[in-house]
């Protein structure tokens, strides 16, 4: 039907106008005859159904309809490959990912675009804000945003993806239903994602996860700890985590594996998420004689933890998943008291490294484009996602789903983080050899900079101990 092609705001504008006019004529028609008693005051004018409220409404709809029109129009020029990007723009991972994707798309388009068959077509990002990291936003709204990309903007594929684990899991079913290719690349870490895919690989074949799973990051953490045990002879761990389900579950896994590795867990602290005081935990840590303070905390208040740690000169090296410490501005924010803390940035390439030739190129390009260094999780993986898509499309020679799926499954792409390939559950493979897998990234704050210290293939510096810990 012709009406279906109009954006719905235009349709509703027209509909509102038509209906209100109809309404007006209808009432005027019905109330045609004036009651006799009022003739004394002259003929009352037939009142059309008010002017203010319908006018306000119609005005709003016209404005929005106009905007809706504009949005639809801009898609006509060129013949771009439209990539939908559902991103939680209010969250830091979302903004990281957005920057990575925009940079990649600009680079690809500048160098001629993607070769599909015998034509070259540019990429076009359709970014939509899913708001999924904000409290109070239900998953159904996130899914509706994705449906808008698929059904209204009619994108060819989707990259980026919701970050919250609940939304990410529900989105798997959505993509299976609409048979749309999806490359999760910003930061949905839950290990249940590939578990779910493994339970029905045929149904969920449309979804690929190109960002990491927390399972690998935990393993890396333990390998890093083992390295420190070998180098410094450390044996005791004090665990301090944010009290959220994810942190609790992850820390349980870490503890079990650490104990198997020979570590002694001498204390544990679970603090509420926005806790602003950590001195109790830090005093306990010092008393317990732990040598490593293993942290898993995402709230911005952990900067206070670091400041208190430095002021109290606790002789335990902070290692772990510290959301606030990922930010380049963390040094300034803690007046340099965050020195020596070791934190993961999830993907090699977020700080200068020589792991792959593309890593430094990416770092400089990112700095040039955005005037700030890449922040952390999401920058590199979202950037690479566009290259993965480009590579797969060129190999498949078309945008048909099944062709793309088999092309993606055979990906072997040298990229910033290492070499990208997917396992049988469509999960990107992490490892320690940049020639066969992608690498994670553990950095230590040294002299105002984040210096990569692990994995070895990408390390640019050695792990240092704070002066009060040297014996």
């Amino acid at each position: 039907m012709g009406l279906c092609r109009l954006p719905d705001t235009v349709f509703v504008t027209l509909a509102t106008f038509v209906l209100f006019s109809f309404f007006g004529f209808f009432t005027a028609m019905i109330a045609g005859r004036t009651p006799a008693g009022l003739r004394r005051h002259g003929r009352p004018r037939d009142s059309s159904p008010g002017t203010v409220v319908p006018g306000l409404l119609a005005g709003t709809w016209i404005l929005l309809g106009g905007l809706g029109f504009l949005q639809a129009d801009a898609a006509q020029n060129g013949d771009p490959i439209r990539v939908g990007a559902p991103i939680p723009r209010a969250s830091n991972y979302g903004q990281n990912g957005e920057r990575g994707m925009i940079l990649a798309v600009e680079e690809i388009n500048e160098s001629g675009g993607v070769k599909v068959g015998d034509r070259r077509r540019p990429f076009r990002l359709e970014i939509i804000d899913t708001r999924d990291e904000e409290p109070g936003v239900p998953t159904s709204e996130v899914l509706l945003a994705i449906e808008k990309l698929i059904l209204r903007s009619k994108v060819d594929l989707v990259a980026g993806g919701p970050c919250m684990s609940e939304c990410g899991m529900a989105a798997l079913d959505l993509f299976a239903r609409y048979r749309k290719l999806d490359l999760v690349s910003i930061g949905c870490y839950t290990p249940s994602w590939d578990e779910k895919v493994s339970r029905d690989r045929h149904k969920y074949r449309f979804s690929f996860r190109e960002s990491g799973s927390v399972r690998w990051y935990v393993r890396e953490a333990l390998d890093l700890l083992r390295r420190m045990k070998e180098r410094f002879g450390f044996e005791t761990l004090f665990v301090s985590i944010d009290d959220s389900l994810m942190c609790r579950r992850a820390s349980e896994i870490v503890e079990t594996l650490a104990i198997k590795d020979g570590w002694k867990i001498v204390g544990k602290d679970v603090h509420p998420i926005a806790s602003t005081d950590y001195s109790a935990a830090l005093t306990e840590c010092r008393k317990s004689g732990a040598q490593i303070l293993f942290l898993w905390a995402y709230s911005p208040e952990t900067s206070i933890l670091m400041k208190q740690w430095a002021t109290m000169e606790v002789p335990a090296l902070p290692v772990g998943f510290i959301g606030a410490a990922e930010d380049p501005g963390f040094w300034e924010a803690t007046d340099g008291q965050c020195a020596y803390s070791i934190v993961t940035l999830s993907e090699t390439g977020n700080v200068p490294t020589r792991a792959t030739p593309k890593a430094m190129e990416f770092h400089h390009a990112f700095r040039r484009r955005w005037n700030v260094p890449p922040r952390s999780t999401g920058c590199v993986s979202a950037y690479e996602a566009m290259y993965v898509l480009k590579d797969a499309i060129e190999r498949a020679g078309s945008l048909k789903e099944e062709a793309l799926i088999s092309a993606l499954e055979k990906t072997w792409l040298e990229a910033v983080r290492g070499t990208i390939r997917f396992d049988e559950n469509h999960q990107v493979v992490y490892g320690y050899d940049p020639r066969t897998s992608v690498l994670g990234c553990w950095v230590q704050w040294q002299d105002g900079e984040r210096v990569q210290v692990f994995p070895d293939a990408a390390a640019m510096g050695e792990i240092r101990l704070p002066p009060w810990m040297k014996r």
Partner: protein, 336 residues
């Protein structure tokens, strides 16, 4: 400069006066006058889906899901005197009940939606029962806090997938079936409630709202009727929740999200509290406004709240009452 002073005077339209009582049946014109708004709503809502593309239909589904707790809120607030600010409670319990039946017991959506509605309604009524002794703003505040409480309890006890929820529930077979099921439910609840408030039960409830001591003095158990009213309202709300769980095949903590409490109230305010059709119209308008504003990114909520504020300040009686007034009366200016 003349010193004529004009004032607005509203007079009932002739046809409005003529359609009161039995004279409504006296000619087709009177009957049409009465039927027109209802038919307009019915035909408009039921005729909209084929005219929209698939995305528009999904927006309509989402809007209808919000319309039902808005209806429940309006019914409870204006006809029973209980301002229940916790619409998320109904959606959460309904969704969890239906999802639980589907995921753990393997029943199909045809069974889980009705059963989930009833189970959710029983659960919500049980939860609201102790709060019924309160009144006014205290009841409002407690019901606002209950969904938050439920969220924390579910996380603390690790029930039903806690933070990750359960996905992969069965969905309904066809998008057209989906949209018509919920639209039918909305229209059925609306007309049923409208009928209910004029029946004996409705009169008792309105009496309780006006002066509960007087009703109690007549030997009627106020508690019993309030519980019944809450049960009816929660059936309506929980249906929306059960349906939502099967719309996207998911249940999770965000079924208790604050958005599900706030949007129905905003819709009721916009559409006009007291007129049961107002919240429904308000929900549809507000949801489509919200979707249309997606292009604005962060400004979306700001614009949304500005619209709500404008309605509260300048047209507090709501859209539907304004339209009703224009339909039933005409205005003119006359000299004082």
């Amino acid at each position: 400069m003349s010193t004529r002073k004009l004032r607005k005077r509203r007079v009932d339209r002739g046809i409005h006066v003529r359609t009161r009582g039995l004279y409504a049946l006296s000619s087709y014109r009177e009957m049409a006058y009465l039927l027109a708004p209802r038919l307009f709503l019915l035909v408009g809502l039921l005729g909209l889906p084929p005219a929209l593309d698939l995305y528009g239909q999904r927006v309509l589904c989402a809007a209808a899901v919000f319309a039902m707790p808005a209806l429940a809120f309006d019914f409870l607030a204006e006809y029973v005197g209980l301002v229940c600010l916790g619409g998320a409670l109904f959606i959460g319990f309904g969704g969890y009940a239906a999802g639980f039946l589907n995921a753990r017991l393997g029943l199909s959506p045809v069974l889980t939606i009705p059963l989930g509605t009833l189970a959710g309604a029983c659960l919500s009524t049980l939860v609201i029962l102790p709060c019924l002794r309160l009144r006014g703003v205290y009841f409002a505040m407690v019901t606002f806090m209950i969904p938050l409480f439920a969220r924390h309890v579910i996380v603390a006890l690790g029930l039903l997938g806690s933070t990750e929820g359960i996905t992969g529930l069965d969905t309904l077979p066809d998008p057209l079936i989906e949209i018509y099921v919920i639209l039918a439910a909305v229209l059925a609840s609306l007309f049923a409630l409208r009928r209910l408030v004029n029946e004996d039960l409705g009169l008792i409830l309105r009496g309780i709202k006006e002066n509960d001591q007087a009703v109690a003095a007549s030997g009627i158990s106020i508690l019993r009727y309030r519980v019944l009213a809450v049960f009816i309202a929660s059936c309506i709300g929980c249906f929306a929740g059960a349906y939502l769980a099967h719309l996207y095949g998911w249940l999770g903590l965000s079924l208790f999200a604050m958005d599900f409490s706030i949007l129905p109230i905003a819709a009721a305010v916009m559409g006009g509290t007291g007129t049961l059709a107002g919240p429904v119209v308000g929900a549809f308008l507000l949801t489509s406004l919200s979707e249309a504003l997606r292009g604005f990114g962060q400004l979306r909520v700001v614009l949304y709240c500005l619209v709500l504020l404008a309605f509260i300040l300048y047209k507090p009686e709501g859209l539907l009452k304004v339209l009703e007034r224009k339909y039933q009366q005409f205005e003119r200016r006359e000299e004082v």
